[in-house]
C-alpha cells in the first residue's frame, strides 16, 4: 500500500501548487486586485508546516521561479524570496503546527509582510516602483484572513489521501 500512498501525495501537492498559481493570475476587477491573497505563498507555507520532509526550500524556489515566469518579473526574484519564506517556516514549523488557527494567521501575516518587504526592497534595486503605497500592504491582511480557508481545504485533502 505504501507505493500507492506516495503517488497521489505528490499529485495532490503539485496540483495544489498549480491551482494556487492559476488563482494568482486569475483576472479580478481592478478595485479588489490589491486584496488578492498570496495563494502560492499560503500553499507553500501550509505544506512546509505539515509535510516538512517533502516540501521545503527547493519547492519554494520552484514556485517562485514559476511566479517569475508568469508575472513576468526578473528571473529569480520571487524564487529567492519564497525560498527564504520556506526556510523560515521550516525553522519554526514545530511550534507553528501546534498553534491555534488565529495565532497561525498572525504568523502568516508576519511572513507575508516580510515577503512583501523583501520583494519591495529587491525590486526597488531594479527600479520598479510600487503603484500605490497603502494598497501594497493590504496583501498580508487578505492572505492572513484566507489562511483558515487554505488550511481546511488542504487539511481535508491531506487526510483524504492520507499524505504523510
Amino acid at each position: 500500500m505504501i507505493p500507492n500512498n506516495t503517488l497521489p501525495g505528490q499529485i495532490v501537492i503539485i496540483g495544489s501548487i498549480v491551482i494556487s498559481l492559476l488563482f494568482a493570475i486569475y483576472p479580478l476587477p481592478e478595485s479588489i486586485q490589491s486584496l488578492r491573497p498570496n495563494w502560492p505563498t499560503l500553499v507553500l507555507i501550509y505544506w512546509c508546516i505539515n509535510l516538512p520532509e517533502r516540501v521545503g526550500i527547493a519547492t519554494g524556489w520552484i514556485i517562485g521561479l514559476l511566479l517569475d515566469l508568469l508575472m513576468p518579473t526578473t528571473l529569480g526574484l520571487h524564487a529567492l524570496v519564497l525560498s527564504i519564506i520556506a526556510y523560515l517556516t521550516l525553522y519554526f514549523y514545530r511550534r507553528i503546527r501546534h498553534f491555534p488557527l488565529w495565532q497561525q494567521a498572525i504568523i502568516i501575516f508576519l511572513l507575508i509582510s516580510l515577503q512583501q518587504l523583501l520583494l519591495l526592497w529587491l525590486r526597488s534595486i531594479f527600479g520598479d516602483i510600487p503603484l500605490s503605497w497603502w494598497s501594497y500592504w493590504l496583501n498580508p491582511f487578505s492572505s492572513a484572513l484566507c489562511w483558515p480557508l487554505i488550511y481546511f481545504v488542504l487539511y481535508f485533502f491531506q487526510r483524504y489521501y492520507r499524505i504523510q
Binding site: Y26, L28, T73
Partner: protein, 263 residues
C-alpha cells in the same frame, strides 16, 4: 545569483523562449475559465438588446465608411505628393489579435496578447486599439506576447500636440487614466483639451496616432517646468481586441527586429 544574471546579462536569452512557453498553459487555462463566465453572461442578453445593438453598429458602420471614402482619396493624393517630393512615407500594416484575460504583476501595467513569434510579432512592435496607442511589445513568446502599456511608470512615448506640432514626451504614471508631460517650460503653448499624437521621433511608434488628451495644465512660475497631465484615449484596461502595427519600409519589404526599448 540568478537575479543578477538575468538582469545584467544575456546568458538566459536562448532559454527564455523555452522557459516562457511553460507559462502558456497557465495563461490559456485562466483565460478560458475567465471567458467562460462572461460567455454565460452573454447567453442571457435579450433579443431586443441585440437588435438594438445591430442597429447601432450598422449606423456607425455607415458613418465610418462615408468618412473612409474621403480618406482613401486623401491618402493616395498624399502618397502622390510625397513621391513628387521624394520623401516616401513608410506604410503601415495592421494585424488583429486578442488580449488574454490574465492579471499580471500588480506593480506594472502589462497585458498578454494571443499572438507571438509564430505570427511574426517582434519586440518593440507598437500596439493600438480602435481609439489610440496602447503600448508596445516587450516580450515575445512562441504563441503569445506581453505588452507594456503607455501608462506603466517605466514607459515613455514621444508625442506632439496635434494643433501646433509642439513636441514632448509623455511618461506613464502608474495610474491607468493618467500620463504626464515632463520638461515642458511654463510658457509652452499647450492647453487643456489638446490632442496629443505620436510624433514618430525615436523610430518605434509610427507618426500620427492619437495618444492622449491634455486634461490639466498647471503653470507654476516658481518652477522651471509646467505640470501637465493627459488622459490616454485608448481603452487600456477594457480593450479585448488589439491591433499590431507593422511598419513596412518601401526599400526593404520585411521589417527588421528591433532589440532596444524606447524606455
Amino acid at each position: 545569483m540568478l537575479i543578477l544574471l538575468d538582469h545584467y546579462s544575456q546568458i538566459f536569452n536562448p532559454f527564455h523562449n523555452i522557459l516562457y512557453s511553460a507559462t502558456q498553459p497557465f495563461y490559456s487555462i485562466v483565460n478560458i475559465s475567465a471567458n467562460f463566465s462572461s460567455w454565460i453572461g452573454n447567453k442571457f442578453t435579450s433579443n431586443d438588446e441585440l437588435r438594438e445593438e445591430i442597429k447601432r453598429l450598422r449606423l456607425s458602420n455607415q458613418l465610418l465608411q462615408a468618412k473612409n471614402q474621403k480618406l482613401i482619396a486623401l491618402s493616395s493624393e498624399n502618397m502622390r505628393l510625397r513621391s513628387l517630393l521624394h520623401a516616401p512615407r513608410k506604410q503601415e500594416e495592421l494585424q488583429v489579435a486578442e488580449t488574454l484575460q490574465v492579471d499580471l504583476d500588480p506593480f506594472k501595467h502589462l497585458i498578454v496578447i494571443n499572438k507571438g513569434a509564430k505570427h511574426h510579432i517582434y519586440k518593440g512592435q507598437p500596439i493600438i486599439d480602435a481609439y489610440g496607442i496602447m503600448g508596445q511589445i516587450t516580450q515575445v513568446n512562441h504563441n503569445s506576447s506581453i505588452a507594456i502599456l503607455i501608462t506603466d511608470p517605466a514607459h515613455a512615448i514621444p508625442v506632439q500636440v496635434n494643433r501646433n506640432g509642439l513636441r514632448a514626451i509623455a511618461f506613464g504614471t502608474g495610474s491607468a487614466s493618467e500620463l504626464e508631460l515632463l520638461y515642458l517650460p511654463n510658457n509652452a503653448e499647450i492647453e487643456e483639451g489638446d490632442l496629443l499624437e505620436t510624433s514618430g521621433l525615436g523610430g518605434h511608434f509610427p507618426t500620427g496616432y492619437p495618444v492622449a488628451v491634455v486634461s490639466s495644465v498647471k503653470r507654476n512660475p516658481k518652477q522651471a517646468f509646467a505640470t501637465i497631465k493627459a488622459q490616454p484615449i485608448a481603452h487600456l484596461k477594457r480593450s479585448r481586441e488589439v491591433l499590431f502595427i507593422s511598419i513596412i519600409d518601401n526599400e526593404q519589404t520585411h521589417t527588421t527586429e528591433q532589440h532596444d526599448d524606447t524606455e
